[in-house]
Symmetry: C2
Subunit: 245 residues, 2 copies
DNA sequence: CCAACCTTAATGTCAGACCTTTAAATGTCT
DNA sequence: AGACATTTAAAGGTCTGACATTAAGGTTGG
């Protein structure tokens, strides 16, 4: 683990990279303890604040955790699915909001990925997954729900569908695609009629999953995508007209 | 932007969270300049090193960039696809390697997602995407290629396939799934015969994409998944036997 | 034998200083 | 007047040294 003093990059960035590489390559295994900050400072020939900045960078990526007190220190962190979900969602959300990704593009990606899960979910879903889907459908059909609550329930429904595939890697990948769409979906005002249509489509998907009918679930998702795209187009058109006037 | 002095969490973590929330919520827009480190220290009533640690956390997530010199400072960063890819790949790779995700699970997720892209890619791929796929196939059929180079070419082939869908969000999501598999694939020793089989399957997929035949591309990917799973099972069985003996 | 205390090794935080970079402002020459 | 060189100030990057806080482990007294 050495650094290049001639590089233009920050020392803390270089040190973080050196340690990160050691972790990713497997040289530092899970729960291994790094040298203390003072020792790292000596090894890299920098001061302790610089080492600390490097460690904070790694902590931000959940690569390490720190513990105070005697026999404390920085330890290589086992990246949990929870943490990975969180990072995935944050990154995806920012990517969508900052790069003016069109609703159409994001929506297409989301449903394409979700359709990939549907056959697996239809095959393997537990009664629990199905119950969650039904519960969310019920919530969505209640009157007086705010648009945001409706969207949140929509996300919960789709997460249950994805989780039904019983593949944590798939759930992780989809978390970003589904959750990051929520801010975009929140721009849509759902009329009572469009809510009814969505609830109906959700019900069809849940029925298909219950019947272990993968193809029908895929078809249901395709219909839902078409409906969602229609809805968005309507909202965008209306907004454009009001701007013109 | 206020912090809770009674919290058990690090001050730098709290400050990072406060600023991150401001960015994600849109209160701080792209290219907005944060107050200087000294000003932030005053606002949050902490010292400059603490502020710096918070800023490094954000820099690690590519949420901000810093610039030295007069009129420099920390600016909200537009998250580029490149940076997002990188983070996605790092996180996915660690998630797979640290949680002893089975090859089977990861492989299933990867191909499920990739099949979701195939129809779109068959529809929209440019001549360039197709040329990349053909070039990688050619590289894969050359003798004397190391297993690692073969795997790298395999990844390049699949990325071209995914990019063919012309949906950057999809490419971003798939980057993690495809690249993170590489370390797992590297555990497999490819015999000449299995390489031939893979090249043949790749050729079939490329042919389907060239013919704008989505369903055939999906079928090709399914065959490739089955073959890859077979290969892995063989390797794992052989390894288990040698451990017993 | 167990509980309260102390020691100690870490991280967390602070204050102040100095170095380096950078762009804007100023000055000078043609 | 305009182009080029110089100065300057603002801001991040780094260092030093110190103190506060925490928690594990040993020690001591009941």
């Amino acid at each position: 683990m050495k650094i290049d003093p001639n590089s233009t990059a920050d020392l803390s960035a270089q040190i973080a990279k050196a340690i990160r590489d050691a972790i990713v390559s497997g040289a530092l295994i899970v729960d291994a303890r790094l040298p203390s900050e003072a020792e790292l400072a000596e090894q890299f020939e920098v001061s302790r604040p610089t080492v600390r900045e490097a460690l904070k960078r790694l902590a931000a990526q959940s690569l390490i955790r720190t513990q105070r007190g005697a026999f404390g220190g920085a330890f290589v962190n086992r990246l949990s699915y929870e943490e990975a979900y969180g990072q995935q969602i944050t990154t995806s959300t920012l990517l969508l909001s900052m790069n003016s990704v069109g609703f159409e593009t994001a929506c297409e990606a989301r449903f394409a990925l979700e359709r990939a899960c549907a056959p697996l979910s239809a095959e393997r879903r537990s009664a629990d997954h199905l119950a969650t889907m039904r519960a969310e459908i019920h919530r969505q059909s209640q009157p007086g729900l705010t648009d945001e609550a409706f969207c949140a329930s929509d996300v919960a429904f789709h997460r249950a569908l994805v989780d039904g595939a019983c593949n944590p890697v798939l759930s992780y990948q989809l978390a970003g695609a589904v959750e990051a769409m929520q801010p975009l979906m929140n721009m849509i005002t759902f009329t009572a009629r469009s809510r009814d249509a969505i609830v109906e489509l959700h019900t069809g998907i849940a029925d298909a999953v219950e019947a272990h009918d993968g193809p029908r679930a895929v078809a249901g998702l395709a219909s839902l995508e078409a409906h969602t795209q229609d809805l968005a187009r309507t909202v965008i058109t209306a907004r454009a007209r009001s701007h013109d006037g």
